[in-house]
Symmetry: C2
Subunit: 491 residues, 2 copies
């Protein structure tokens, strides 16, 4: 066995061993642990902030904000598991006197699956990396986590891992509840996904990376689920009345959204779809002006910048595409946003114009009428989000378009911008393939915990041997579906 | 395009077209439709019963019972969608005054995914075939269904399809909401799973069949989920005190369970695990006596019988295996159950002894002590069910064994037999791989509807344009998670 494979084997075996203890700890204890991780991350103080800045070029305000989001996510999962109803306890009370056969007593709830492998994301060095949403949700569910750190921010990963390890010690949990594996190449990630003790995988990143993991996992002797969030172009459809009345406001909000964080978000609005009607020329002018006025931002690295320039240029140099405005590279590594335009017909003919350009870029697709807007939307692949810019009165007559947008996305926004993902129970961050590998789950918000659990049913078990969530007296005071009605009442 | 491919294409396009209408019909209307299907099945009267008997050799009482279960399932899904809370509405109310950024209004609920391909099962010609659990749950969710009929009961399939079609007409639904495809070979099934309009697959049957579908679906341009329920050996662990005190009762119940329906159930107890201690010899004698006294039953077909005899013989002729008792084939196509025994050490050494023998067969694994019982359980693959035969006082000291059993199964029974699957909200029929392709879902009980839906989130939509489940006034009176609390209250 090679050294890398051996060390992966060691951490996975430690994780499996830790699972035997960790799966039994109470929601209260897990909540304490998650909150402590957040506290220890804050305790890393300015060293963490400066390390992230150094490794990612992100501005300080964003890094501080992202740290807040990361700690906030940990606390939200802490609240969720402390309250306890997320386990979806379902009880069908037995009836020994039922004819012709007695009715068994059936009690079902969600249980953790085992060690989860998490791949740190490049574009969220804190909120979707070592102690990010995937880790928080897997730990909250009761699973040990092994993180493959993103090679772009190894020092950040080490620091955050040290915070988790402090929280493990403080809570007297087994060492193997968490491990960080760092590796410049792809080998350790591959061994982690292939290891028999791995039970699920969380990933945020490129389509190629995500699909490779899905393939690896499906080829295992025991296939395991991979939750790959692979980004999308997040179409924004601007209807006639909105265009006519609000073009200026829409243009400035869209350019700000495209430019935010140098466009390095999975919800970057990379595709604008509108109709050549009243206000259209003014809208294009406004886009152009906003781009020319936009301040540049640094991308994560010279490599990310290079890819962006190549990909954006490939679109803009396409014979059917016209550049609307293109911010200059004002200093090394600093880009300003760019927007280009193409006719609906040409867009639909060229599948590669449908691909995401990672960075502050958006493509404006120009349609002749609403019918063509629908054709364009129908031609799209699955998306994390879709946005509709419309006046109230034109919504009711566009139900078919709304249907089409719903079919294509996980989250449909009205008159907003897709960046700025709220972390809450109602958030859906996961759309039809290829935006995500499994559209039935979300990677943002407390619903993310559902990725790493499965139901188990106890039949005819004596009350005292059941998990507390299923006991008659409902000692944890959780919501339960008892004989098909939601209640907190005891039985 | 070949004729088969063309006809598959036609039904799938009709299903996709029907989806545009069907996805919008109310829970009340879907409930009416599902109940009408059940009524039309009953209206088929004795013709259906006799056709099933002719095609499957099942005794009349079982066929009538299975028809009752099938209609009961349809009615349960009807109740579920009429009540409406299954859509899991989650609402995080917006707050325009939140600092530093306004909080968006987020409202999420489950929506149907699109046409579902269902493979009829051989061993449940009604309850898991054309109008069985997979079809009922997919239709209840709002998806059109295309069934690939099982080649063993084509006339039954045609009759049940005609009942569904009558219900479609009665409810004025699009023709394409349901279609039956019949084919002796595997071609049409393959084209159905590969068709771009197919969004999910339901299957109950052999491991080979299920895994082939999983592979096909994962190789599509847009991979889709396959819910394959592939059976298991359903281990029954008998602890010392239970053996000593109840050996006679346990033996008679187990043999009855093995023999029920000629063992042609996916929950057939194909593996018994116990300790060579007080009562063991008496238990083996009781098994033997019960088998010798058992009445035979017909298997589905001479082909199924042949496979059973070959597979059972292969196990019984293994050098480490001893036959306890083996019922004779009393008349052509009629078998009686057989039980053989093997030591724990030999069982663990021979992986093929872990495989299911489809039919009235069970293998008794003999352990030296509880430690060895745990080793045997740890060596097992994923199972639909696991059963523990134990006295209350010995349960508390065997928490580790219970943990191991939970890890291996979807449903854990105490002092029962795994056959006789209750259809209810708390049922879990689906276990870790390879019992099922996705252990996070159940194929029996109303929870089965969750396989064919995905969440969508509406951000900042005006009330009147939201689906009713998400509107402020809660006009459908469903349970909703509003700002993290379950309630039926309006907002």
């Amino acid at each position: 066995m090679k050294a890398i494979e051996e060390s992966v084997h060691k951490v996975m075996m430690e994780a499996a061993e830790a699972f035997e203890v960790y799966k039994h700890i109470s929601g209260k204890q897990k909540a304490q642990f998650l909150r402590n991780i957040g506290e220890e991350i804050v305790n890393l103080g300015d060293e963490l902030i400066q390390t992230v800045i150094e490794e990612t070029n992100l501005p300080e305000a964003r890094v501080v904000g992202e740290r807040g989001r990361t700690v906030g996510q940990l606390n939200k999962f802490a609240d969720l598991v402390e309250e306890g109803s997320w386990k979806e306890a379902v009880i069908d009370i037995g009836d020994a006197n039922r004819e012709p056969l007695p009715k068994p007593d059936l009690r079902k709830m969600l249980i953790p699956m085992g060690p989860v492998v998490v791949f740190g994301a490049g574009n969220f060095p804190l909120a979707f990396s070592v102690a990010g949403g995937d880790t928080a949700s897997a730990l909250a569910a009761g699973n040990p986590v092994v993180v493959k750190g993103h090679p772009a921010h190894p020092k950040t990963s080490d620091l955050v891992a040290s915070a988790i390890q402090k929280a493990i010690k403080k809570n007297d949990l087994p060492y193997g509840v968490f491990a960080l594996v760092q590796d410049d190449g792809i080998e350790s990630g591959k061994f982690l996904v292939q290891h028999p003790k791995a039970k699920a995988v969380g990933f945020t990143g490129s389509g190629n990376g995500g699909l490779a993991l899905v393939k690896l996992a499906s080829e295992r002797e025991e296939p395991i689920p991979v939750f790959a969030e692979m980004g999308s172009v997040n179409p924004v459809v601007i209807l006639e009345n909105a265009l006519k009345n609000n073009y200026s406001d829409i243009a400035s909000k869209l350019v700000a959204s495209v430019n935010m964080g140098a466009g390095q978000f999975c919800t970057n609005p990379g595709l604008l779809i509108t109709i050549k009607t009243e206000g259209f020329n003014e809208f294009v002018d406004a886009l152009s002006n906003n781009i020319n006025e936009a301040t540049g931002a640094q991308m994560f690295s010279p490599g990310v910048l290079r890819n962006y320039l190549v990909n954006a240029d490939q679109v803009m140099s396409h014979e059917t595409v016209t550049t609307i405005a293109k911010g200059d590279e004002v200093e090394p590594n600093v880009v300003r946003p760019a927007i280009a335009t193409v006719s609906a017909a040409d867009f639909m003919k060229n599948p590669h114009l449908h691909e995401e350009v990672f960075g502050p870029f958006s493509l404006l697709v120009v349609c002749d009428d609403t019918k063509e807007v629908k054709d364009v939307v129908a031609s799209l692949k699955g998306q994390l989000t879709a946005t509709l810019q419309a006046k109230d009165e034109e919504l009711t007559k566009n139900q078919e378009l709304i249907d089409l947008l719903v079919e294509k996305c996980g989250r449909l926004l009205l008159n907003g911008v897709p960046t700025g993902v709220e972390v809450g129970a109602a958030m859906q961050h996961g759309g039809p393939f290829p935006a995500s590998s499994d559209s039935r789950f979300t990677s943002v918000g407390v619903g993310a915990i559902k990725r790493f659990v499965r139901p188990v049913c106890y039949q005819d078990f004596p009350d005292q041997l059941l998990p507390k969530e299923l006991q008659n007296s409902n000692p944890l005071d959780v919501w339960r579906l008892v004989d098909n009605s939601w209640t907190k009442n005891a039985i």
